[in-house]
Amino acid sequence: MTLTDRYIAAAAAKLPEDQRAEVSAGLREAIGDAIDARLDEGLDNGFADAERSALNAMGDPEALAATYSERPLVLIGPDLFLKWKRLTVLLLWIVVPIIAVVIPLAGYLDGDSWGTIVGSTIGGCITVAVHLVFWVTLIFAVLERTGVGAADLSDKWTVDDLKETPDPRVPAGDTIGAAVTLVITAIFLIWQQVYPWAHTDTGEGLPLLNPALWSFILPALLVVMAVELVLVIARQVRGWWTPADAWATLAINVASVVLVAIPVAQHALLNRELFAHIGWPDAATTVTLDQIEWITLAAIVAINITDVVQGFRKARRATRSPG
């Protein structure tokens, strides 16, 4: 088998069955003529050399076969690329956060250790994300090869598709909502101590939260909340978010999560005496006080993460917008 034969076989292997014979004959002519021309010019050292240079000039046989059969040499072309990107990003934003909540919750309810839960959450999120990107890409690669265009998938873009540019000013509703939440939480913290739900037989009050936390944790939490209230009002007066605001929000949220996490880790957020007194959870309930504490912490962490992310997004939007 000559080099030319091998080259033609390599190109033909990448062609649809019905085009092989015809394209092979065409290639044999093209290569043969190129070799003859090189021999006539006398540039090469004999036939073998001329054949090598002629085939080198023709390039990768698979690329040549793709040019002949007009097959795309891209996985997803420019027509479908944006659809692919938007769908992938959208699905990742929807699915991965759900997985990131469901896996640790299931692990926790199964009584797995912290290391196992963190490991399986990270592993699970990566697996789901990789699967998602792979399958979406596969579908679009198939669409690309079956000649489906962007026009078949959705309507043509018009100005109506432009995103609403959000008002960079801080809405009064946000401020009122945040302030009311802070005040109610503070009132609740104090109220549950001053007016406890249950009393011991000797008439001593049994608050919901561990009273020992008043030595440091709960006052500190109230201070943090007071600082946050000041920031929220200052922001409303100023009228827009700044990067400093976002960082301050991050610091405040980290502080409050840490303040709640410390007693949770020590199994001391809820007042054990109260629950012992009212006799709940009893033998019939499957939940433990520890679990309630951890779920409370998880909920607080989730709310705080959302808060911080929102803060940075609003700050970025406000600094970007011209107004």
Partner: protein
């Protein structure tokens, strides 16, 4: 100084559509086989690579703009392409477009 890569890229874009017009026009004048057409194109300084020209000829044939016959007089059989009536109509259309572009360029120079 102009970046040579940049120049090459713009030249390639400007030329892209002219290759098929040149092939159709040359083959309308005299039917020919691939390698000879390469030489004729390069003689009028429209150099094109063999691995671009041969697939292009086949595509123009599939589009009904060229026809071919196997020439078996030589030891190596060759496809001899000729421009079809459809191809000739397309030459006229493309040539008119080219004239318009050319006169537009001249108008721009004058203004």
């Amino acid at each position: 100084m102009l970046d040579p890569d940049l120049v090459a890229q713009h030249r390639q874009e400007l030329r892209r559509g002219t290759t098929s017009l040149a092939c159709l026009a040359l083959l309308a004048h005299t039917p020919d086989y691939g390698y000879n057409l390469l030489s004729r194109l390069s003689a009028i300084s429209l150099t094109i690579e063999a691995n671009t020209l041969y697939p292009l000829l086949r595509r123009l044939d599939k589009q009904g703009l060229l026809t071919f016959e196997w020439d078996t007089t030589d030891s190596r059989p060759r496809k001899v392409y000729a421009t079809s009536p459809d191809g000739i109509s397309l030459i006229d259309l493309l040539r008119a477009d080219w004239e318009r572009l050319s006169s537009a360029l001249q108008l721009m120079e004058k203004s």
